[in-house]
Symmetry: C2
Subunit: 476 residues, 2 copies
């Protein structure tokens, strides 16, 4: 049995695009003589659909996509994820389901048991818990079809009462399939492979694990689908952050790779860099924009975001705006210009003094002789936001936020000022990782000027200000 893993990128609620993509992959896999093609969790509607699941219209569309996939399955078998209606009028009205389709017919529907409801997950809002554990006859083999969390019954922070794989394993399946929508984080690929390998070793069953790829604003799905033989050896690992269709053989009760395993994977800061670039690309593609604008202060944060944006969108699609105030050092302006030169990115220099002074005059009747303070520091950031948002409005560029997670965690930022932007590129990146990203960007040549890397972090909103006046020092 030749099995195809379809690691694809879906658009939530774009049923035409998802249908085309799924049926296209079915055709391709059939041309490659695959017997079975496996798609990821809720592939039909994209994951996470969230409260769209409450709309009848949305579920009707899902059902209609399923019908089209069934029609397209002549001569091949398919496992694909989508919502399924709960026939019982009590309880949640939907299940999170895997459909097993073969040669023009829907033969089986399997439901998800463990519904993650923590962190970014809210599946208990929508889905009924499965209580039936039976292997599915897939082309003569007994397959344990599971959905994502079903294999994660034991985690560091939480154990479920139910163990779905144990329940099916009692019925002697030959192979485990898992269709998944498992988001990326710093250590996720290792954690995921450890959990999957443990399940394989525990039940001595080969496993095919198909994850989706793609980003949805604040969640990135990395793909990184894997296949283990029953000895727990990795037979296939699909790339991170890329769509792929790949194949394995299932022969004599175990899985055999068709190509040598590519062991090279990114780790550490290289993987984070790739994730961030992918996240920017996805945000712009899925929201229908091509161009970005950002404030360029000459500091390390905006420097790194500018480099990430150029990598993701192309230098011709990034506009940098320098907005010096009376407190901006000459060095900072010079550094920002040098970086724009290195990246060949268009930039404007727009001093904010006139706007800042206008606001000061306008408010004189209110504040009279109150001294310059935090409110005036913040007002500079807000003047910059007004300029950036007018450019965004007028030219159709999405404003990229250049804050980092360390600043956000302690509130070292200005509401409606430097907190503005459509996408907070580094909203989940600590300041220490920002430096590591800068070093990675400069790995072959100096793109980010060394002056930017070396100077002490400063908001430059009052004379001689340093981040370390208000915050602990960063360990570099």
């Amino acid at each position: 049995m030749k099995i195809a893993l379809a690691q694809l990128n879906y658009r939530i609620g774009d049923f035409d695009a998802n249908t085309l993509k799924i049926i296209g992959a079915v055709k391709k896999a059939r041309d490659e003589k695959a017997d079975l093609i496996i798609f990821s969790e809720l592939a039909i509607c994209g994951y996470p659909p969230d409260d769209f699941l409450d709309y009848n219209y949305f579920i009707k569309k899902c059902n209609s996509v399923l019908d089209q996939i069934i029609k397209a399955s002549k001569g091949v078998s398919i496992i694909v994820g989508g919502p399924a209606e709960n026939k019982n009028p009590k309880g949640r009205r939907l299940y999170n389901a895997a459909f097993y389709i073969s040669d023009g017919k829907l033969l089986n529907t399997v439901f998800k048991t463990l519904l993650p409801t923590y962190d970014v997950f809210s599946e208990a809002r929508y889905f009924q818990v499965n209580e039936v554990f039976e292997p599915v006859n897939v082309l003569g083999w007994k397959a344990a079809i599971t959905i994502c969390e079903d294999l994660w019954d034991e985690m560091d922070f939480f154990s479920y009462e139910e163990d779905p794989l144990k329940n099916i394993a009692d019925k002697n399946p030959d192979i485990v399939f898992n269709i998944s929508a498992s988001p990326f984080n710093r250590s996720k690929r290792n954690e995921r492979e450890d959990i999957l390998r443990n399940q394989v070793l525990n039940y001595k069953l080969p496993l095919i694990y198909v994850n989706q790829v793609g980003a949805h604003t604040d969640i990135i799905f990395d793909g990184s689908s894997v296949v283990f033989n029953k000895k727990g050896e990795l037979v296939l690992r699909l790339p991170s952050f890329e769509e792929t269709i790949a194949y394995v053989d299932f022969e004599e009760g175990d899985i055999v790779g068709l190509e040598p395993l590519d062991k090279g994977v990114e780790t550490g800061i290289e993987e984070i860099y790739k994730a961030l670039v992918f996240g920017i690309k996805e945000y712009f593609t899925k929201s229908g924009f091509t161009k970005a604008v950002l404030g360029s202060s000459g500091g390390i944060d905006s420097a790194v975001v500018k480099c990430l944006a150029v990598e993701a969108l192309g230098k011709e699609n990034v506009l940098a705006v320098l907005m010096p105030s009376e407190f901006s050092s000459e060095g900072s302006v010079h550094d920002a210009i040098k970086l724009s030169g290195n990246l060949e990115v268009e930039y404007y220099t727009l001093p904010i003094a006139d706007a800042f002074d206008a606001f000061r005059s306008i408010l004189e009747p209110v504040f009279k002789d109150l001294l310059f303070g935090l409110a005036e520091e913040n007002m500079q950031a807000r003047c910059r936001a007004v300029l950036l948002m007018r450019i965004s409005n007028k030219l159709g560029h999405i404003l990229l936020n250049t804050s980092n997670k360390s600043e956000m965690a302690v509130g070292y930022s200005t509401l409606y000022g430097d907190m503005c932007g459509g996408l907070s590129v580094m909203g989940d990146v600590y300041k220490m990782e920002v430096y590591a990203l800068a070093k990675y960007i400069n790995r072959n040549e100096e793109i980010i000027p060394s002056e930017i890397m070396e100077k002490a972090p400063s908001a430059e909103l009052r004379p001689d200000q340093k981040d370390s006046d208000s915050l602990p020092e960063y360990t570099l």
Copy 2:
């Protein structure tokens, strides 16, 4: 048996305040010769505690408050809600519990069965589902102790598989207690009383229902606690939006009121008005602020918010800022001043032209001869936001947002402009209700000038603009 209903206002995570309040109420009820005092759901930590429940420190504090309440229960019985640890290492680590305490001892702990996980509720994130259904011996009577949603097994949009009251009713209880944290909405009090009365009539059991009162930013709990005798007659209804301790007698297997039932309750726009004023008061009290600033355009939305703020905070705590642009009509400025006069509220008039012009000049190198358009309309709203936020920063006033739900629903507003503010007072109020609120405010005398009520809605961001240029007409 004399029973006290403690309809109180808790602070989420302010354990000292909650302990003082609960123990104070216990003392008061004991002085009034009550045998039993009933508090609301999760009273110990306040509802909704959300992800605080994931912190061990938070749960330790809850346990310590419970110990103090137990110590304070000499000579009296108490039912109070709080989180309880799940001893099983599998499943969620907490239950949503009701503690039955009597004369210095914790005698019983009852867990919640139906865990709302929809709309504003996320209880499945934190709590394990109860599976034990036994009445509790309360001073010789068999009490069915239930928690909020436990009585809401059947709703228009959703039915649970489990019916907790049916399960306990099989064991012949004498009375039903329900401790609750049920939020307010337009029709909630009627809906709630209907559901409760149906349960009473169905099982022929008297019911004491204790709800919390208080607001937490976007959720308002109205209290409106009720008591039904076994015939389904309302014996007691506590006021909405007020803390109260009230008493009933339980004699010969039914509940008897101690005072005549006050049948007067607010409905319709009067109730919404009261809820909004209460919401403002609560937001300021719980976040430790006393003063508000708001933009005052001369339109109906800011007029109504100004009146609500004056009612909630007092006229001396509200600062109105008029920020006319070249497109503001003389009428609007005049109307806003007249309204400030009627309310005796301090105001400043700060024309934005100089700031607006400064931004236009600064951006000339970028935009060159691009015509005035939407970006410049939005920029006026953003100039106003900079002024308001500087006042907020400098003087410590919370900025009140003056948008309404109709505008928000269709995106007729400026991001980082009129969408700014700490509290969106009318974020859940439709434009048609804004007019109804204005009429209600003017019920005895003209506070909001008739000119404001009668003129066609306009953002006044370009010459002769009307809302109806971009939006359908409002039905008044």
